[in-house]
């Protein structure tokens, strides 16, 4: 599954949330969607997932628009993991993960072997097998995140769109979750994740898309996107850089005055 977004615009209350966004997504890569608050990251993710229609522009899935593809076929190919996704009833972790199989199940048919295998695989990847009989409401934040991720992976989608999957986690679980998403991307499922932590984005993602004020400011490998001018322009920050065992890292270090920010943009 390949998603092509062309010249997307989204407005809310007369204010543009997204304007002229054009990008393509393919399986096999871990893409980070970064940008300051209000840049339109979540909005873009929802448009890509087919959950809200853009005011202008087109989104196609393998060349077909959602109206031609159908929501059900899209659901099998693209999984969406909302931010702070609720679990309204006291379901067990296993039952929640099984919900990820719904797009594959017929109207009447029961659970198939393929469904069970996919659920096992998702629980294994996310290291959540021991949680399967726990009620989701009783899990810690990290455990819950893994179960919800397993739910999305159980669909066996070509692409997983995740809205801030690691923001609520402690550093240890953040590292584990990012590694998991990268592994998943290597395994064939393309991952697009909204991220706030630039350090994690720099280290784990194959590609970064930088959004600011509803526009794509940069799109490419982390090294090409996380440059001083782009970060100053988009976030209004200066960063501290270094390397650990040859891998680069960066730390947000200082805010820049608004004037300097504008000059840098030009």
């Amino acid at each position: 599954m390949r998603i092509d977004a062309h010249d997307i615009a989204v407005n809310a209350g007369g204010r543009p949330l997204l304007a002229g966004v054009t990008l393509s997504l393919r399986p096999g890569a871990f893409t980070g969607l970064i940008g300051p608050n209000g840049a339109g990251k979540s909005t873009l993710l929802r448009v890509l997932a087919g959950l809200s229609a853009p005011a202008a522009g087109t989104v196609t899935y393998d060349g077909a628009p959602l109206s031609r593809l159908g929501r059900r076929r899209l659901a099998r190919a693209v999984a969406y993991l909302p931010q702070d996704g609720p679990v309204h009833w006291p379901l067990t972790a296993e039952a929640v993960v099984m919900l990820g199989r719904l797009p594959h199940r017929g109207l009447m048919g029961g659970v198939t072997d393929a469904d069970r295998t996919a659920v096992e695989r998702a629980l294994t990847i996310t290291d959540a097998r021991h949680l399967r009989h726990r009620i989701v409401g009783t899990l810690s934040g990290g455990e819950r995140m893994r179960v919800l991720l397993a739910r999305a992976l159980a669909t066996e989608p070509a692409l997983l769109l995740a809205d801030e999957p690691v923001s609520a986690l402690d550093p240890r679980h953040q590292l584990a979750a990012m590694a998991l998403l990268r592994a998943s991307a290597r395994g064939g499922t393309g991952v697009v994740a909204v991220l706030h932590d630039l350090t994690l984005a720099a280290r784990f993602c194959d590609r970064l898309i930088l959004l600011a004020d509803g526009r794509v400011r940069a799109d490419g490998p982390p090294a090409a996107v996380l440059t001083d001018p782009l970060l100053a322009g988009a976030y209004g920050i200066a960063v501290h850089r270094g390397t650990v065992d040859g891998a680069p890292y960066l730390l947000p270090w200082a805010t820049l005055p608004p004037l300097a920010e504008k000059e840098t943009v030009r």
Partner: protein, 333 residues
């Protein structure tokens, strides 16, 4: 941990219990009655008085109890899944009392005397209006407060309009009949009522049951449910139509029996691992069990004329509601 009963065993057990209560309901009555002789006569086609009582009074009463209970339990479970709130129930949110209002309008205007189907249709119209109003109120999420306040508003309005309609009705008995419509009863119901509501109820059940998968998906919220391939507008349409068909026709022949749609899903939820889709059929069966048991109870209790069904279900259900409210308050401070 609650002992896990396999789902098919649970369904079979509840169905068996409902069947046993149906038989008990047929056996319980006021007049000395030789049930076996009546059954023999009926099967042999001998139109004896006991066979007449069996065929025209006791069996329709039991069957109607089963149908109405299933409709209320099923609809309660569906509404809870849809609004993701364990307090959602046809009685509390006002769907039942609006259905009573619609039925009252159809009955006392004389419309249903000319066109029989006008009675359930009136009930359905009332139920559908309340359900539509509920979707408007719950458009931005159905918190407990929204549900309860909206329910109070709809229930008061429908109750007042029902009282008004009954007072305006030309028959002097009408004004005294508000208890039937607000509390519900299976007394002296007959086979004609069963035939009147059977088809619309079954249609309602099918519509509601067809939403089982979508209700499961809604556990994860509306966005996730849509991303799993479900159309929420489609689900909403099916549930409103299903609730209107099932509850509207149920109320039009027995009045509004409260709390069944609240208690049945609440009791069954732990037994199906809280899965909203699986909750549907078992809640329907549990609703049937509750109504049948309540209807046997009103005939065994020594109060004459017999208690309205809603009195018994409220005696059981209202404490449930109080306990649930307290618990929900602790969970969502």
């Amino acid at each position: 941990m609650i002992p896990r009963i396999p789902y098919p065993a649970l369904v079979a057990g509840l169905a068996a219990l409902a069947a046993v209560l149906c038989l008990a309901s047929v056996a319980v009555g006021y007049a000395p009655f030789d049930l076996t002789a009546a059954v023999d006569d009926w099967l042999a086609g001998r139109a004896t008085l006991p066979a007449l009582v069996l065929a025209e009074l006791r069996v329709p009463r039991a069957v109607l109890g089963l149908l109405v209970g299933f409709s209320l339990g099923l609809t309660g479970a569906a509404m809870q899944g849809w609004l993701r709130n364990p307090l959602a129930e046809p009685g509390i949110v006002g769907v039942s009392s609006a259905a009573a209002l619609g039925s009252v309008a159809a009955f006392y205007s004389g419309l249903s005397a000319t066109i029989g189907l006008a009675l359930p249709l009136g009930g359905m119209a009332g139920a559908a209006s309340a359900a539509l109003l509920l979707t408007v109120m719950a458009a931005r999420g159905a918190g407990t407060t929204t549900l309860i306040i909206g329910g109070i508003a709809v229930n008061s309005l429908a109750g007042a309009l029902t009282a008004l309609a009954l007072n305006l009705a030309p028959n002097p008995y009408a004004a005294l009949e508000i208890m039937f419509w607000l509390m519900g009863s299976l007394t002296d119901r007959g086979g004609d009522q069963v035939m009147l509501v059977l088809a619309p109820m079954l249609a309602g059940w099918i519509l509601i049951l067809s939403g089982a998968r979508a209700l499961d998906a809604l556990t994860l919220g509306e966005e996730a449910a849509r991303s799993l391939g479900f159309s929420l507008t489609g689900l909403r349409g099916r549930l409103i139509a299903g609730a209107a068909l099932a509850v509207g026709s149920a109320v039009s022949v027995t009045g509004a029996v409260g709390f069944v749609g609240l208690v049945a899903p609440h009791l069954m939820r732990p037994l199906v691992g809280a899965r909203p889709g699986r909750l549907l059929v078992v809640s329907g069966l549990a609703g049937a069990v509750l109504i049948l048991a309540a209807d046997i109870a009103v005939r065994l209790l020594p109060t004459r004329p017999e208690l309205k069904l809603g009195v018994v279900t409220a005696l059981v259900g209202a404490p449930f509601l109080i306990a649930l409210t307290i618990r929900l308050q602790r969970e969502e401070p």
